[in-house]
């Protein structure tokens, strides 16, 4: 039950994040919004890491540098997310984000890219994405 509540809260915070970023950007600008939210998020996360005594920072030297760089993609993610929310609302933006995300995740697993375990392409995943795309078409009617 607690796990379920946490997962629902996670989804709520993700949507809230898109909405808040869009709101902030319409007052001060898109790059300003991206910079402020990432900076304050970084400071809070650092504080939590220190409070919880996460001592694994030094393990980063055992990770391939390319994988460590993933965070930088947030600049593209935030710019796309904010602009898309302004242009077509949260529901359509998040729907298409999720479709692109799952579709690429499927390709990554199928091909075993980026050190992921290679998995067979399975029917439910393909059907799931097809159903999501059909849902977006209906959303737009």
């Amino acid at each position: 039950m607690r796990g379920t509540l946490f997962a629902i809260a996670g989804g709520f915070f993700l949507t809230l994040q898109s909405v808040a970023n869009a709101r902030i950007s319409s007052v001060i600008g898109t790059w300003q919004a991206a910079t402020i939210t990432q900076m304050t998020g970084f400071l809070v996360a650092l504080l939590v890491a220190l409070l919880l005594r996460d001592k694994t920072f030094k393990e980063m030297k055992h990770v391939k540098p390319i994988y460590l760089s993933g965070g930088a993609l947030a600049a593209i993610v935030l710019f796309s997310n904010i602009t898309a929310v302004h242009r077509m609302g949260v529901t359509l933006t998040i729907s298409i984000f999720l479709i692109a995300q799952l579709l690429l995740a499927l390709l990554i697993d199928w091909n075993g890219w980026f050190g992921m375990v290679k998995r067979r392409l399975r029917m439910p995943q393909v059907l799931g994405i097809a159903l999501m795309i059909a849902g977006v078409v209906i959303l737009k009617l």
Binding site: F6, I24, G70, L92, L104, M132
Partner: protein, 156 residues
């Protein structure tokens, strides 16, 4: 609309790549050290992009005071998702997160909270969201038995 869609597709693929990269980091590094790294680099990249597009005009703004607390939302995301995954396992937790995300989005568009442009509710939209939610569940949870069987076959 077309530009919005293209950007959303681009953004979603970036999220998938970022999740994959972060998963590789988390094999060696704790959740909060990883989050600190990810948000720190996100900050640097946004700052550099902002500076290259707008120069020092980037700093010419008047923020409302709550803007400075917006980063807490991201920490709420990490905390909730990590706890959810620990208690439910990744398959169920992530599908629930996504279904919750899309449901709250419809609610938000409908209510137009937070100065967002209100998008009127219709049952057609609700049907669209239900289909997307079902698609997510099918994607995340479908065929798990088949996979277990094939593992057994391989072991046998």
């Amino acid at each position: 609309m077309a530009l919005g869609m293209m950007l959303a597709l681009l953004g979603g693929t970036m999220v998938a790549i970022q999740n994959t990269f972060n998963a590789n980091v988390k094999q060696k590094v704790g959740a909060w050290a990883t989050t600190t790294l990810v948000l720190g680099l996100g900050f640097l990249a946004s700052l550099l992009a902002g500076l290259s597009f707008e120069g020092t005009n980037l700093f010419d703004f008047e923020a409302e005071s709550w803007f400075w607390f917006s980063g807490i939302i991201g920490v709420g995301v990490v905390l909730s998702v990590t706890q959810g995954v620990q208690q439910l396992g990744p398959g169920y937790a992530i599908s629930l997160v996504m279904v919750s995300q899309i449901s709250f989005a419809l609610l938000w568009d409908t209510l137009g909270w937070f100065g967002l442009e209100q998008v009127p509710f219709s049952w057609m939209k609700a049907l669209g969201v239900v289909m997307i939610g079902s698609g997510i569940l099918l994607f995340q949870l479908g065929g798990r038995r088949a996979e277990q069987v094939s593992k057994k076959e391989m072991a046998g």
